[in-house]
């Protein structure tokens, strides 16, 4: 991973068309401004992780009464 130190107001360019600027730094988070072509999807990591998890979820094994009981215990004990 390329690591670059930047101060508030400074930016980095990715190729010719994408700019990432540090807008604000607070103790717990950094506010970024991103300029990118419309065709480039900019998503937060949580969004990508959720999409990946949904893909895994859609491929879940078929649940049966037995597998539910194995997971959660007998009815009423979940």
């Amino acid at each position: 991973m390329l690591v670059i130190r930047r101060r508030e107001g400074e930016a980095v360019y990715i190729g010719e068309a994408i700019a990432v600027q540090v807008l604000e730094i607070s103790p717990s988070r950094v506010k970024l401004g991103i300029e990118a072509p419309r065709a480039v999807a900019v998503v937060r990591s949580e969004q990508r992780a959720s999409a990946e998890e949904n893909l895994r979820a859609s491929a879940s094994v078929t649940l049966t009464k037995h597998s539910v009981m194995k997971l959660l215990g007998p009815p009423g004990s979940a």
């Binding site: 937060r44 949580e46 969004q47 992780a49 959720s50 999409a51 990946e52 998890e53 949904n54 893909l55 895994r56 979820a57 859609s58 491929a59 879940s60 094994v61 078929t62 649940l63 049966t64 009464k65 539910v68 009981m69 194995k70 997971l71 959660l72 215990g73 007998p74 009815p75 979940a78």
Partner: protein, 162 residues
């Protein structure tokens, strides 16, 4: 791929449709049973119509079945069964999509099960599926400022437990 229902018939003044599924057999439903997810689910944005079913044999698991893509289904659990004090955060835009007022509470908050073959089962606490059953709306709400995991383990219990 839009699924065309196998049959449509009139019953008690309502149009009843049937959906053939491999796992759950033939299901019947009316328009009132259809949950609309205006922006789909993460990674599945184009699939916006789902049926929610609660097969007794799988309780407390529920199933969300896509009406737009044959075979797309998600198992879900009420979040309270996984984390008793789950803190759901809903912003104004999310409330608008769910047709919820500022003080309204959603009817259900579910977490999706991911249990691919040969992997341990997990649930996605980071992105619960929130329902407003009255308005028949659903939304997957990513909890951006939380510490919740998208792979929260569901530990298998011993089969011999009683």
């Amino acid at each position: 791929m839009r699924i065309f229902p196998a049959r449509i018939y009139l019953y008690d003044g309502k149009l009843v449709r049937t959906l053939e599924t491999g796992e759950f057999g033939q299901l019947t439903y009316t328009e009132e049973d259809v949950l609309v997810f205006p922006v789909g689910l993460a990674g599945f944005e184009e699939y916006t119509h789902f049926l929610r079913r609660q097969p007794p044999a799988l309780a407390p698991f529920e199933v969300l079945l896509s009406l737009d893509w044959a075979g797309l289904r998600f198992y879900a659990l009420p979040v309270d069964l996984v984390v008793s004090d789950y803190q759901l955060s809903l912003g104004p835009q999310e409330r608008a999509l769910l047709v919820l007022g500022a003080e309204d509470r959603p009817s259900h908050c579910l977490v999706l099960l991911a249990w691919p073959e040969n992997e341990p089962p997990t649930v996605n606490l980071l992105a619960p599926v929130v329902l407003n059953q009255t308005a028949r709306r659903g939304l997957q709400v990513i909890q951006f400022d939380s510490q919740y995991s998208c792979r929260h383990p569901l530990r298998e219990r011993s089969a011999s437990c009683s």
